[in-house]
Assembly symmetry: C2
Homo-oligomer: 244 residues x 2
């Protein structure tokens, strides 16, 4: 590709395309497609906690997360939230794709969990790419597949587990490599669709058992084995994407 470095608009576009290298699917596009993308990509940055999409909104394109993390969640009539899933760098917002293809209104809320860079491909452009580019077709199917699995796993967990098990699972699966999970009990409550007090009571159990340590705004895993144990057997039988 050409690399005019100083024109503000062009520079933005070029870096946009470059940034899409996270999506292997975009590497194999034909030159026409690349040009089309180059002309129409929109790069945006959402600060932490900024709303990205709201329920009922008409979706204007395909959202690809470049950096950061988006949270997709619902809000119950009583105001309680519940996280459906997260969208990490390199992933696409499938619900947006979904709405795009079926001409639907967006069925949930999306918020930036951390400061997030988003690449927006306008709807008509994406549809055009989908028609001619096998790579985009595969990306779409893969993205949908992924979300189907996440939703099924979440649904199964909601049905099969109590709050203690779900909390333990959340801690185990979202903790950083050093065993720390930087989040507040209030947020945990929201993710699990329950209240802060419930989380506090459960955390109390976990702390008493010595499995974790509770600090302000963070949880540290002290004993993974103990924690897994407190999570109960549900974790063993939990649905996994087992490769055959």
């Amino acid at each position: 590709m050409r690399a005019p470095r100083q024109m503000p608009a062009d520079r933005n576009r070029v870096s946009s395309l470059d940034v899409l290298t996270r999506f292997e699917s975009f590497a194999s596009l034909c030159s026409d497609s690349r040009a089309l993308l180059s002309r129409n990509l929109v790069l945006t940055r959402s600060p932490r906690a900024a709303p990205v999409l709201h329920k009922g909104q008409a979706v204007s394109g395909a959202y690809l997360v470049i950096q950061g993390r988006l949270r997709v969640f619902t809000i119950a009539p009583n105001g309680a939230e519940a996280t459906l899933y997260f969208i990490d760098p390199g992933e696409a917002c499938v619900l947006a794709l979904n709405c795009l293809f079926n001409n639907l209104l967006y069925p949930a809320w999306v918020q930036a969990e951390t400061p997030t860079d988003i690449a927006l491909i306008p709807g008509p452009v994406y549809r055009k790419l989908f028609e001619s580019e096998p790579a985009i077709q595969n990306l779409t199917v893969q993205a949908l597949s992924t979300i189907v699995y996440r939703l099924m796993a979440e649904l199964e967990q909601v049905h099969a587990s109590n709050h203690r098990q779900r909390l333990v699972h959340f801690i185990l699966s979202h903790a950083a490599a050093d065993g720390t999970l930087r989040t507040t009990q209030q947020h945990l409550g929201r993710h699990l669709g329950t209240t802060r007090e419930v989380i506090a009571r459960l955390m109390q159990e976990l702390v008493r058992s010595g499995a974790v340590r509770s600090q302000r705004g963070a949880i540290t895993i002290l004993n993974v084995v103990e924690l897994r144990c407190l999570g109960g057997v549900a974790l063993d039988t939990e649905m996994r994407s087992v490769r055959r």
Copy 2:
């Protein structure tokens, strides 16, 4: 499992293709594709309550429901079931497609809710069709989209509603045209992931309010408005596939 039909194989195959007219997507296939399908389609009939797929099974192809209804459900460690969604005639089992494309093991159980005719397209055949036939690509994306919506709706309902609301919603959305729902309380409990007693108690409320009548093995809606009312406001704010 296997087709109990005793007819010659050829006749079976021909009728299989005809039967696929339910899927408009198969009408536009090129002759090569039709021939490929014709050679490889497998028609099976599952009697009521027969297992079709079980968790962890390697998926052998794409499942299209011709007639009847399949139930996709999970089983919790404690043995409690919960219905994820149903597959009605003209629809494809998306999880199977999903597994097919991602080479995964099947993540749930599938059972014939009523005697069900299923067309099975072997995996390699489906993949080949997907590569060359835009109609199949669209069918796949549509099927995945549909399931994403159903799962999200289910998940949102689980989070936002209590059992009464979910029961009301189930009755309203699954009752036949004459306002009757032919099922037992035991089954209702399974679908909603709860127990028979809970259903009985809730039914008692509904009956007392005059919204429904309870017979052995069936429920009759007497007053739709009253029933909707008992379902609470959750139904109004429920996620719908609103066409813009």
